[in-house]
């Protein structure tokens, strides 16, 4: 829950907003995992002031705390007239709400609220002080007992732990920069979202979808290992290249810790002229039903306020829109060439060994030519094994195949969302709604059906305690989807019907 108070001469009006679970109304705000809590302070303030044109100031509750509007009223009004700007704290010093003057947003400084620490009132007061002219910003205690130790994760989906440190570091760095530079209002904002491959793709596509009037960022910190993806996906932000390896895929190094460590490796001069905003995962993304591209759009400043604004409501045009135009033509009688990516970013995404053998053999029996990326043992079942270490290599492979089948991994998103290649998507332990493509001709998603997904586990099934996910589509479903896509894109004579007839 997110709450606010509009303060006007006529009195106080309270508002309750929600992290949306699927409905987008003026009171439901898109639940974005790649967004630091401060972005919600900005969004809530913006919506509250829009709803109350007469309000001079707005009180916005700290997004990581579950504060209802009714509670916020009691806390804020307990100590007499409200100073503005100010930071309200618990009985100690933990920030529980921010009092912001309307002019802060009217002057176009709302995006700086993304830099709030939401855990240190002194740092946040310093930031507000800079944003409102450099005067003293008081921290006013409320009767709320001390917040105390926060949990590792909250029911609202926030992952705290080392993210708290990351938010604090971005705030302190911003205050330092504002002190040093009189022209701080004009300095660029950079989204720190350096990896991984799929995430860079989502951010890149998002940057293209955010309108100029909303785009609050000018650059993005990206690992050199993913720079080709950054460019090939048409990212409109300027890259700030990070010359260190991406964070490991396990949880050994958290996103927050990686953010802090990576700041020392930024190119010279960047820290002195850029506000760096932590834009990796502040929340557990699977808790939100929305596509990660919409998560990223919200992070970059787009309110994504209605369903029509979402990726599914307004699918972006593909660069070369005809689905078949990217692939080799399919001559009559020639075999259907199917490319497969059956391993993903973590073990549980991998399509199970037994099923993939059935899948490859069935397609081969039907007369298809099967190529599998990075899976040597697939050769035993009649597949050709290849590697695709770069987007150039992947593009070349796709151009040589008619249909692509992939688990939820970068190659799937690149083929379906960037190239518009005929694609069948496999989702099992992850939620399709978080990262699949909008519906279009030449795209199929045999959707997983089990309520256990998304489980959030990396290497074992928490229900069956095995190392495979049973929420994957059956081989027969995938074969059918592949033939279905082929028939749709290349016409009825896909060259597999005789084989199917023999097998049947």
């Amino acid at each position: 829950m997110l709450s606010s108070l509009a303060i006007s001469g006529a009195g106080v009006e309270s508002f309750d907003f929600r992290f949306s679970s699927g409905v987008l109304t003026p009171n439901d705000i898109l639940d974005s995992a790649t967004t630091p809590p401060g972005r919600y302070v900005w969004e809530v303030a913006r919506r509250t002031l829009a709803a109350c044109p007469d309000a001079d100031a707005v009180v916005v509750a700290n997004p990581i705390l579950p504060i209802r509007g009714s509670r916020l009223v009691k806390l804020a009004l307990a100590g007499g007239p409200l100073p503005c700007p100010a930071v309200l704290t618990d009985e100690g010093t933990f920030p529980i709400a921010y009092i912001l003057p309307r002019r802060l947003l009217e002057e176009g400084l709302g995006r700086f609220l993304c830099l709030l620490s939401v855990s240190r009132s002194a740092a946040d007061a310093q930031l507000l002080s800079r944003l409102t002219g450099g005067g003293f910003v008081p921290r006013r205690p409320t009767p709320l007992r001390a917040i105390g130790t926060l949990p590792e994760s909250t029911p609202q989906g926030y992952v705290l732990g080392d993210n708290l440190e990351a938010w604090l570091v971005q705030c302190v760095n911003a205050v330092t920069l504002m002190r040093k530079r009189d022209d701080w209002r004009d300095l660029p904002f950079a989204a720190h979202h350096p990896g991984h491959a799929g995430d860079v793709l989502f951010f890149s596509l998002a940057s293209r979808l955010v309108g100029d009037e909303h785009l609050a960022f000018q650059s993005q910190v990206v690992c050199r290992a993913y720079l080709d993806i950054f460019h090939d996906c048409g990212n409109r932000l300027a890259p700030i290249v990070l010359d260190i390896p991406p964070a490991p895929r396990n949880t050994d190094v958290g996103d927050g810790q990686y953010f802090i460590d990576s700041l020392a490796h930024l190119p010279p001069g960047v820290a002195e002229e850029t506000f760096i905003v932590f834009s990796r995962y502040s929340k557990a993304y699977a808790k939100s039903p929305f596509n990660l591209i919409d998560h990223a759009r919200f992070s970059l400043g787009d309110p994504v306020a209605t369903f029509a604004d979402t990726l599914y409501g307004r699918p972006p045009p593909l660069p070369h829109h005809t689905a078949a135009s990217q692939a080799a033509p399919l001559a009559p009688g020639a075999p259907l060439k199917v490319l497969m990516q059956l391993t993903g970013g973590w073990d549980l995404k991998t399509y199970p060994a037994k099923e993939r053998r059935v899948l490859i053999r069935a397609l081969t029996d039907l007369g298809c030519a099967v190529t599998v990326i990075d899976l040597p043992d697939a050769a035993a079942d009649g597949a050709t094994v290849v590697t695709a270490g770069s987007t150039v290599a992947l593009k070349a492979l796709l151009a040589d195949h008619h249909v692509f089948l992939s688990v939820d991994s970068f190659p799937l998103h690149f083929a379906s969302q960037v190239l518009g290649h005929p694609t069948v998507a496999i989702f099992g332990c992850t939620a399709p709604g978080n990262s699949d493509a909008p519906r279009r001709a030449g795209y199929r998603l045999p959707a997983p059906a089990l309520p256990c997904g998304p489980c959030g586990c990396l290497d074992y099934c928490p229900v069956l305690m095995i190392r495979e996910c049973t929420n994957q589509p059956r081989p027969a479903q995938l074969v059918a989807a592949i033939l279905d896509v082929a028939a749709e894109v290349y016409g009825a004579g896909t060259g597999v019907a005789p084989g199917l007839g023999d097998a049947a």
Partner: protein
């Protein structure tokens, strides 16, 4: 342009919580005390929960109380209640009159009928029609929804269906949308004239294996009084397995509407053992179960027939209620609302996707046969 998605979530509702005619016919006194007066006899029996202060121990005969119940259900995103038809003498009572004043086009009533043993008679069916006519009813495919519970009790399903439709016409109804409680479309119920099927309840259909299969040693222990013998008498299913089993490979079961269950424990009505219990229930899994069910019907059912049933709104004695409780507040109700919103959103994102398995150019049966054959070959060679 966003196409409209007519998804309807219904909840089974016990209308006996009232001092009105239905309450009197069911024994009078305090219906809440009757429902909640049960104490666990085994260590694996979870105690019944208590109504929370949001709705409390309401009396549906009090119009304001009934209005509050409907208002809370509406706010959650539920589109109507399914009321049981209770046979009392030669007539049926439903309690619909208490709720009807609060219903309109956005919130309506459906009914569930458990046929008597033996063939249904014209008089019986006429009494049923009299009981369900005249209210703001829920429509599917333009017809009033009637759930037929335990259809296997019908000696002649087709004859009963014909009788029901005839009686509906005579009663002036715009037709009946008949839903039979059955797990899959292999028993001829759809051929008999039912419009759709509905997943049976946990006690009627154990769709997954019991959680604990005790071995001989434990059996001897129990017999010797060293372990709880109740573990042998009751069927305990892990909730995660249960919800997965309800959704796995669903299309192969045919036109079966989902029944979403939060919890289930019928031990109060099985004091001597034989109860069915769900263990390790989880509001999060329940939300996903509900959202998944909505997405499923959106993709597989024709418009106007996209119904999902929640079991239940207030079956407190079976611990399956989603109403606010003293112990957990409105957590479950909030998850219900979240599940409905999430399911609706995901369904919207899939608009335009072809219904799986319905492409004319692909022979699904032949592909499935081929894959089975390869699976067998691989199993033999392993």
């Amino acid at each position: 342009m966003i196409p409209p998605l007519s998804l309807l979530v219904l909840a089974f509702f016990d209308a006996r919580f009232q001092s009105g005619p239905l309450g009197q016919a069911c024994g009078g006194g305090d219906p809440w005390a009757r429902a909640l007066d049960a104490y666990p006899a085994r260590r694996h029996h979870s105690p019944l929960l208590q109504p929370g202060k949001a709705l409390g121990r309401y009396d549906l005969a009090d119009a304001a109380s009934a209005g509050r119940v409907v208002a809370v259900a509406r706010a959650t995103g539920i589109g109507g209640f399914v009321l049981d038809c209770h046979r009392v003498g030669d007539q049926y009572l439903t309690g619909a009159e208490c709720l009807d004043a609060w219903c309109d086009d956005d919130f309506g009533l459906a009914f569930r009928w458990t046929p008597p043993a033996g063939p249904a008679t014209a008089a019986d069916v006429a009494a049923l029609m009299a009981a369900i006519t005249g209210f703001s009813t829920l429509l599917a495919d333009g017809r009033q929804v009637l759930v037929v519970n335990e259809p296997y009790r019908l000696p002649d399903p087709a004859g009963t269906v014909a009788l029901l439709r005839q009686a509906a016409d005579a009663a002036g109804l715009r037709g009946l949308y008949l839903v039979a409680t059955a797990a899959e479309a292999r028993g001829g119920l759809l051929d008999a004239g039912f419009d759709a099927l509905l997943d049976p309840g946990p006690a009627q259909w154990r769709s997954c294996k019991p959680a604990e299969l005790l071995n001989g040693y434990t059996f001897l222990q129990a017999e010797a009084g060293q372990a709880d013998g109740g573990m042998f008498d009751d069927t305990i299913m892990t909730y995660a397995h249960f919800v997965n089993s309800r959704m796995v490979d669903r299309p192969s079961r045919g036109k079966v509407l989902p029944r979403v269950v939060l919890d289930y424990a019928d031990w109060p009505d099985h004091p001597q053992g034989g109860a069915t219990l769900l263990a390790s229930t989880s509001p999060t899994l329940y939300r996903r179960f509900l959202a998944g069910a909505l997405t499923y019907v959106a993709q597989h059912f024709p418009e106007d027939e996209r119904l999902v049933f929640i079991d239940s709104w207030n079956h407190w004695r079976q611990r399956s209620q989603i109403e606010p409780t003293t112990q957990f507040g409105s957590t479950v109700l909030d998850e219900t609302a979240n599940g409905i919103r999430q399911g609706g959103y995901v369904a919207l994102t899939r608009v335009g996707e072809p219904t799986p398995g319905r492409s004319p150019g692909v022979d699904y049966d032949a592909i499935a046969a081929l894959c089975r054959q390869i699976e067998d070959e691989l199993s033999l060679s392993a």
